[in-house]
């Protein structure tokens, strides 16, 4: 199968307009005869559901949480990028496009990335209109700050709660359409399979998480907006319920998986403190605007941070990357921290952290300014660690964070299954091998609000004539039976170990071999180990309770079963890519100074994996750079 990204013709600046001019339209009276299922209610899902409903489609929206307002977009703290050039500092759509493409180490499509930058400015207009209380100057205009990998100020923010505020806007817009009876909302509902009829996505199988009942829903198109899958590492910055199951089920039904191993490790999370830990709390990257990262020059230094004199502090990011300093991109900042920690310079009780210090910023700007900028983050830090970071440096450590990889989508955000779309973090499109800070809220929103509502019509226009699916179709019956069989199988094992036990095992392997740095031998070993974990899981897991009730253990078990298989694909993908690019750092491919070595001649493509009876087959979408020349990414 040849992968066609369906990139429109014309200059980069004209592509999106050229696409819209040519795409098919649907008469408003006909839109209400077409139904769309949206799985997920974060910025991408709620944005898509509410906007499609405004256009007149009949929408059903599903989320596993008790309310759409819990979606994990809520947790993004730092901000959202937009090429508004309000700071008059030389920003433009082109520069934002180039920063994003370069930040992703030239492993994303030019056309998609340009469109992301192009639609960023109207998105800020949109959110302001929806009542998002972005930070403002005294005169009433919007404020910006910087984020990693960028030398202009283009990040908009609402204290340290930007994601929450954007999600509240999206959620309230969603409920506006619930009230208008154009969206039917299904909270506490988890998609457990995709239904494909005659090669087209026509519905889903859902487990009602309260009653345990399996339900079938049919529609003319299905949109997945299910977020990232970094919980495959177990310890991550993600919400505990985040999972890859919807993606994985779609993958098994024929959707290709793009660049599964491209996973971002965030440099500024709180360090792990014990084996029982369930989650690593993220501290916003925005802290690197004013905070300076350092470790002592002396190994195993036992002095308190404040007792270590200035001359004995190694500000290693400023030393290695003088032009970007503490605002080096995430992949680079994480690897640099790992390098120092592995070399024995780590700080904290378990020697697994580095310092993030605000002493100089407080001296320069005053305590009040720092409180205004980051107050709630410092408060959160204190709640969790008991430490006052105004008085001594924070301790931070890298943690699994964002999935650049996801279902492969074309320019229309459609997967390789016609009628199945993937929006937001769950697709692979714009970020390449590394995402820049504050581009995640942006991509999720732009996908949901602006892009999908302008591309889905191109597909649905032809579905007008087709038969509308019904849930008694044999494919629905078959999918529901398969889901039931998996649930019964998990419950029947009745072994001796808990679901969390296997998740910890999987997490250890993934973190060791498929996170910040990878090598061939390690990945080969990891694949074998994960196969072992899979066999052990299916022969020795114990899940109590039954399937016809609210059963959180069963939910976890079903998600983990999919994570185990996804972990295998991630390692397979990382093993296949004999180069270092962005977050994918293969130890065999580095310079003497430890910088990544990209191999454009052989690997300038998006890997798109097809599921073939338990095995994975690689397809390649060659990346063609027509407008920019990929260069060696340097932040020195």
């Amino acid at each position: 199968m040849k992968l066609d990204a369906k990139i429109p013709e014309g200059r980069l600046e004209d592509k999106w307009r050229n696409y819209q001019v040519k795409s098919q339209l649907i008469n408003p009276a006909n839109k209400k005869k077409l139904s769309v299922i949206v799985v997920g209610s974060g910025l991408a899902g709620a944005g898509a559901a509410s906007t499609l409903a405004e256009l007149g489609y009949d929408i059903k929206c599903f989320c596993y949480q008790d309310s759409a307002r819990r979606a994990h977009s809520v947790a993004a703290q730092g901000g959202i990028n937009a090429a508004k050039n309000y700071q008059h500092d030389g920003d433009s759509v082109w520069r934002m496009f180039y920063d994003t493409l370069k930040g992703g180490d030239f492993r994303s499509r030019e056309a998609n990335t340009y469109r992301l930058a192009e639609l960023s400015a109207p998105l800020i207009d949109h959110y302001v209109q929806q009542g998002v209380p972005f930070a403002r100057e005294y005169g009433g205009t919007l404020v910006n700050r910087s984020f990693g990998g960028v030398q202009v100020q283009r990040t908009f923010y609402a204290r340290g709660q930007t994601g929450q505020q954007l999600l509240m806007a999206a959620y309230s817009q969603l409920y506006k359409m619930v009230r208008a009876k154009k969206v039917e909302m299904f909270p506490r509902s988890e998609m457990l399979d995709l239904v494909v009829i005659d090669g087209k996505a026509k519905g889903i199988i859902v487990r009602d998480l309260v009653t345990g009942e399996l339900k079938r829903y049919a529609a003319d198109a299905v949109v997945l907006a299910t977020g990232g899958y970094s919980r495959v590492f177990r310890l991550s910055t993600l919400a505990i319920g985040c999972n890859g199951s919807a993606l994985w089920k779609a993958h098994k039904k024929g959707a290709f998986f793009g660049a599964p191993s491209f996973t971002q490790i965030h440099p500024t999370a709180l360090p792990q403190s014990s084996e029982a830990q369930s989650k690593l709390t993220l501290m916003s990257e925005s802290l690197r605007n004013d905070g300076r990262i350092w470790v002592p020059y002396q190994k195993e230094d036992t002095r308190r941070a404040n007792d270590i004199p200035e001359a004995e502090r190694d500000y290693y990011l400023e030393r290695r990357y003088p032009s970007f300093g503490n605002l080096a991109p995430r992949d680079i900042a994480s690897r640099a921290a790992k390098e120092r920690i592995d070399a024995g310079f780590g700080v904290g009780r378990l020697k697994n952290a580095v310092y993030l210090d605000f002493k100089h910023a407080i001296e320069r700007f005053g305590l009040e300014t720092i409180k205004d900028r980051y107050g709630n983050l410092f408060k959160m830090y204190r709640k969790i660690t008991g430490i006052d970071a105004y008085k001594e440096p924070m301790q931070i450590s890298p943690a699994a964070h964002f999935s650049m990889g996801g279902l492969w989508v074309d320019y229309e955000l459609m997967t390789t299954i016609p009628g199945l779309y993937a929006v937001g973090e769950c697709n692979f499109s714009d970020h390449g091998a590394n995402r820049l800070g504050a581009n995640s809220l942006l991509q999720a929103s732009v996908d949901g609000y602006f892009i999908l509502p302008n591309t889905i019509n191109n597909y649905l226009a032809n579905e007008m004539k087709a038969d509308h699916p019904t849930t008694d179709h044999p494919e629905f019956v078959k999918a529901a039976q398969e889901v039931k069989a998996i649930i019964d199988r998990v419950l029947a094992v009745n072994g001796t170990k808990t679901v969390d036990h296997f998740h910890r095992e999987l997490g250890k392997v993934m973190w060791q071999e498929c996170a910040m740095s990878r090598n061939k031998a390690g990945l080969v070993k990891a694949i074998a180990q994960i196969q072992g974990i899979r066999d052990a899981f299916w022969s020795d897991v114990k899940v109590t309770g039954d399937s016809s009730e609210l059963n959180t253990e069963l939910e976890k078990a079903l998600r983990l079963a999919d994570f185990i298989e996804l972990g295998m694909l991630m390692c397979t993908d990382a093993l296949e890519r004999d180069e270092s690019c962005g977050a994918h750092f293969r130890e065999e491919f580095q310079t003497e100074e430890g910088e990544a070595v990209r191999v454009d001649e052989a690997y300038s493509y998006v890997s798109a994996w097809e599921y073939t009876n338990g095995d994975f087959k690689l397809h390649k979408e060659a990346l063609e750079f027509e407008f920019v020349q990929p260069s060696v990414r340097s932040y020195k």
Partner: protein
């Protein structure tokens, strides 16, 4: 560290429910409170018992999904934080810790410690939005909003919808929740067009959901993880009066 958890167990909405005691060993001070419950659940699985159903998602204090009564206080012994932000270092070795679900008629128990807070969604549905369609927005800087106005809106908008305000209120009032949302939107120029309608409809929905009236004890602001002030309720009441005259 060893503690005794006394936990509310209730099979379903129609079950009577009761407190059961569990002695749990092997905890550490670094563990979060919810991790201690995870630990207990793993022990229960190994003893072939059903796990305790409790809610959480982000575990960093922002999604609002977690929330239980701990020793008689919403979200536990400390002020202004979520259950997921509570750590075992706030307890002593040998402590007995009583855990119950939110108690409010408008938040019926689904199972064990999980309650149904969909009443909040229905309040939001009644006007907690700005009726502008995607694609109709003017340039963002076209309407200047002074910093103080924007900051005040942000203070109110910080609500995470956890329901601690309702749970801790002797009247089970949702006034803090509802007022925070009203003041966020009505305080901004974009929200003005629908201000009176919003106030009238949201407060009406709050009443038909069965939430009690506010008698200004201020209990809610002590437990609110975002520290949202009761002044919001006074402001909402003023807006209700204003809506009656001008709405």
């Amino acid at each position: 560290m060893q503690v005794t958890f006394k936990i509310w167990r209730q099979e379903g909405p129609n079950d009577k429910g009761a407190i059961r005691a569990y002695e749990v060993d092997g905890l550490t001070e670094d563990m979060s409170f919810l991790e201690a419950l995870d630990h207990l659940n793993e022990l229960l699985v190994l003893k072939n018992e059903k796990v305790i159903a409790f809610e959480y998602d982000c575990r960093e204090g922002i999604c609002g999904q977690c929330g239980v009564f701990i020793n008689g206080r919403a979200h536990g012994p400390l002020d202004n934080m979520t259950t997921c932000q509570l750590h075992m270092r706030s307890f002593k070795d040998g402590d007995t810790i009583v855990i119950e679900p939110w108690r409010a008629a408008s938040f019926p128990v689904i199972k064990d410690l999980i309650v149904d807070r969909s009443a909040f969604d229905r309040i939001i549905e009644q006007g907690a939005f700005i009726s502008a369609k995607t694609g109709t927005a003017p340039e963002a800087n076209a309407i200047p909003i002074p910093k103080e106005v924007s900051d005040r809106a942000m203070d109110a908008a910080a609500c995470i919808g956890c329901g601690a305000c309702v749970a801790t209120c002797k009247n089970s009032s949702a006034a803090l929740f509802t007022s925070a949302k009203i003041n966020h939107l009505n305080g901004l120029p974009q929200g003005r067009a629908e201000e009176h309608k919003r106030v009238a409809e949201m407060t009406f929905q709050m009443e038909i959901e069965g939430f009690g009236s506010c008698t200004f004890t201020g209990a809610c602001e002590v437990e609110c993880p975002e520290g949202i002030s009761v002044i919001n309720i006074a402001e909402m009441n003023a807006r209700v009066t204003k809506a009656k005259f001008f709405g």
